[in-house]
């Protein structure tokens, strides 16, 4: 049975429009004009307990709005949501004790006090017995490689240390469902890897369900076998990472290295040329043409090396969004 069920979820906001300039300001003051913006347009999906799902989409696609509805922060305009057996926007305490949300750009730790003070508050608020609270802090601190950082004022911590402390605070009550909105935003490469590793361990140890948004594809490819892609409020894709390539990029990438420099013009007969510099070139070919193209390349060029790969997932997803935007503009 799914731990997150979303059916035809819709959220629209009423926003006031204002024209620029003094006249626009006066008109805005006397008579405001409003319009409805549909941020989420009838999306549906289910997530099973223990799944780690990546939630992808460009800025303004509706990812964060969806997460806010799933956590009960905002009320849906229409549709049905069930998370951990509850309707999130009712916010019953039993539901709030089973979920957590970490927003990379927001913090819950008290800025001027050591993180331990915020952890004590969370321990009390989530009704965790004192001894158990201490045990969990130690366990999570070990997993996150935090030690004396917990006794330093939060404002003195580095961004990476702060995010780890935020994760500790958010997971102290051992939630079943984690909503993570850009948890590695702004972190350096080492800190990103460390947060990813922690999330993987947490998921394995507690079978927690994780819905993760990130602009860093490395987060998604490292953690999430399944991906949801949302664009302009609509769900464009729901499936595994390989499925994205099969559906949106039914192509393979051929890289060749020749013994003599290549004339890029001669390569167009074998596929779309991605790059060509000296003796090295990269081509994109349709899957059904792969065997023939490879055969012809081997026959026509004096090759030193040839490799065949899937195109990088980052490029594929970027292309999906670019094409979707172009289609929207054409239809408009």
């Amino acid at each position: 049975m799914a731990i997150i069920e979303v059916h035809q979820l819709v959220k629209s906001f009423r926003v006031a429009d204002k024209e620029p300039g003094f006249a626009g300001t006066l008109k805005h003051f006397v008579r405001r004009k409003y319009r409805d913006v549909e941020a989420v347009k009838g999306i549906s999906f289910d997530i099973a307990p223990g799944e780690m799902v990546g939630f992808l989409g460009p800025n303004g696609a509706g990812k964060t709005t969806t997460l806010k509805m799933l956590t009960g922060l905002i009320h849906p305009t229409a549709g049905r949501v069930t998370v951990a057996g509850s309707e999130p926007f009712q916010r019953p305490p039993a539901f709030l004790k089973r979920i957590t949300m970490v927003m990379g750009q927001k913090q819950q730790l008290i800025w001027d006090l050591p993180a331990l003070d915020s952890l004590r508050i969370n321990g009390a608020v989530y009704e965790i017995p004192e001894a158990e609270c201490q045990r969990r802090i130690k366990e999570l601190a070990d997993m996150l490689e935090l030690d004396e950082q917990l006794t330093k004022p939060v404002r003195k911590l580095s961004l990476g240390e702060r995010m780890k402390a935020e994760l500790l605070a958010a997971l102290l009550h051992r939630p079943d469902v984690l909503f993570l909105d850009e948890p590695t935003l702004g972190l350096d490469v080492n800190a990103q890897a460390s947060v990813r590793e922690f999330l993987r361990q947490y998921n394995q140890r507690y079978r927690a369900t994780i819905l993760l948004t990130s602009h860093y594809m490395a987060d998604i490819t490292a953690l999430c076998p399944r991906v949801l892609i949302i664009h302009q409020g609509k769900l464009m894709f729901d499936g595994d990472l390989d499925g994205i390539l099969a559906r949106f990029a039914p192509c393979r990438e051929i890289s060749i290295e020749t013994k003599q420099p290549i004339d890029p013009a001669t390569l167009h007969a074998y596929g779309d040329v991605l790059t060509s510099h000296g003796r090295i070139a990269r081509l994109i070919v349709r899957r059904e043409d792969l065997t023939a193209s490879v055969g012809r390349l081997m026959a026509d060029f004096d090759l030193r090396d040839l490799t065949v790969n899937d195109p990088p997932i980052e490029e594929t997803i970027a292309r999906i969004f670019t094409e979707a935007n172009a289609n929207e503009q054409t239809m408009a």
Partner: protein, 262 residues
Amino acid sequence: MNKRWRKFVTLVAASHAEMSEYRVELVLWILSSIMPFVLMGLWMKASHNAGGSLGPVGFARYFLAVFVIRQLTLVWVIYEFEEDVVKGRLSARLLHPIDPGWRYLASHLGERIARFPFLIGVCAAFFVLYPAAFWLPGPADAGRAFAALVAAFALRFLMQYAFAMVAFWSERANAIEDLWFFMYLFLSGFIAPLDLFPDSVRRVAELTPFPYLVYMPARILIGQQVDLTKGFLVMAVWGTGFWFLYRRLWKTGLKRYSAMGA
């Protein structure tokens, strides 16, 4: 320890620890509230012509009591709540299984504990400078004043918290508090003791919540007679009204909350 009690004590302790980080600011906040001392000087000068039951020493004690009451019943929840709504910080509070109102209340109480020693210092300094005004309320008056102070703080907090809910509709909810504060200044006894007001004005004022927020506890502190039953009754009526207003606005406001910025 009872779970609810543990939650609240932990929140107050954390808030006190946070406020204690701002020692200099605390002193400056207290010194910025010296208006009652200015009014004290004016009324002591005018006491011969002012009428009422207070002489120069009585006015000195009254305005010192006003200062103490003002320090102990200060409420800023509307500004904090409005900022939390506008900047989306309310989201983190809503995700916890505790009503956010308890956190705001705890932050006020934590601040009050941190402020208290400085307040005692100001009172001691005042008595050193003006020993003729020295007095200590008797145990009965101290007990009644404490009850009146707790009720005054609770009502002031509840009224401002109810107004704060307007932040779900308007990004400048504190404009209501500014208007309300204007009435508070005149009708609470902050500017002048209410017994100096014309009878008709005083009778109307006594139906509002304001006199019970400053004037009544101040009179108890300086040992004057007050109608406690009437005071607590009026406060209870207003408190009940503001409680229902707060609950209504909270429930409908949450449906409008867009968690902007978070």
